[in-house]
Symmetry: C2
């Protein structure tokens, strides 16, 4: 399998797992949905778990790149960028296929923190926190890491509730909370 075909497989597997869940999607169904035979899949991934980890790595890269691009497109100044996180979120919620966060779902199905899949999910959230802290640093907030952690909490809560309730309302509420948090952090200077 060429590198690009492998990428295509991982991409399609990602879509299937995202829609269906990790336990719920079996390897036979995955082969059917990706158009790659089970034999070929197992040539390049020793186990289902390895394939899942590959999809999570792709999703991590995909999501963080997308978020960075949207944030930078929506605001130039760091303060505005922290708020733009939640404008970007709203865009995401409005996409037709939105079904919560891949990593929240992964940690829901693989709950033991020692499990590689759980650890990968935790790492994704940590990378997001670091990214938020980088932006917060530029605002000269007193505690950029703390500000980043607070914004991350709001982001995760918004995702969960956008999946369960009316996402329009949730996005607006999350943005209100974020504005509150950022204003307070910057007023303290």
């Amino acid at each position: 399998m060429s590198a690009s075909k492998r990428d295509e497989l991982v991409q399609k597997a990602l879509a299937s797992f995202y829609k269906g869940g990790f336990h719920a999607i079996g390897m036979d169904r995955l082969a059917k949905e990706t158009g790659v035979s089970k034999t070929a899949i197992y040539k390049h991934f020793r186990t289902k778990e390895e394939l899942i980890l590959a999809t999570l790595r792709l999703r991590d890269e995909q999501f963080r790149n997308w978020l960075r691009r949207r944030i930078e497109a929506l605001a130039a100044e760091p303060e505005g960028q922290l708020l733009a996180i939640f404008d970007a979120l709203e865009e995401w919620f409005e996409e037709a296929g939105f079904r919560s966060c891949m990593f929240i779902k992964a940690s829901s199905e693989y709950q033991d923190s020692s499990h590689p899949i759980h650890a990968t999910a935790a790492e994704h959230k940590r990378l997001l926190s670091i990214y938020f802290a980088e932006i917060a640093q530029k605002t000269n907030a007193q505690d950029p890491e703390g500000l980043a952690r607070q914004l991350l909490i709001v982001k995760e809560g918004a995702i969960v509730l956008a999946h369960l309730h009316e996402h329009k309302q949730v996005a607006a509420d999350a943005r209100t909370v974020a504005k509150n948090i950022v204003d307070t952090a910057l007023a303290d200077i």
Copy 2:
């Protein structure tokens, strides 16, 4: 099966699903872990899904009663009670068996909003929002429903991250955000 035996089954099934996940725990294993034979289980629940719904109903009742009791024990005034939500959360996070929220996990495994299990999870969150709004109403905040929705977002985000990262830090951060939200809502009066 007597009513109390049935309750015991649902209680034990709840613990198994909470620990292991809904898809991951099969009916054979469930029978073993609950001590109730598969035959007896199917006498009282026509499908696995019905049993899951029963465990979710129990969990909803259990959790909201527990939260109400803790909040009322921790604070007498409504403003303090809104903040006490997050003290109660911290207590929960510190329990040995804490593994995120049953309903977040349920909505992660049953993602279609038309699915009864998904709908039950959504309903649980809605009941929490209503409860928070009842407390917020007593504070004379201008928009108690909005305040409740904001606090719910923070609560859900805190739960997700407490499951993935250091729960002590998460609880503290969530409480900081909550204080911020409540102060702002009450300053507006």
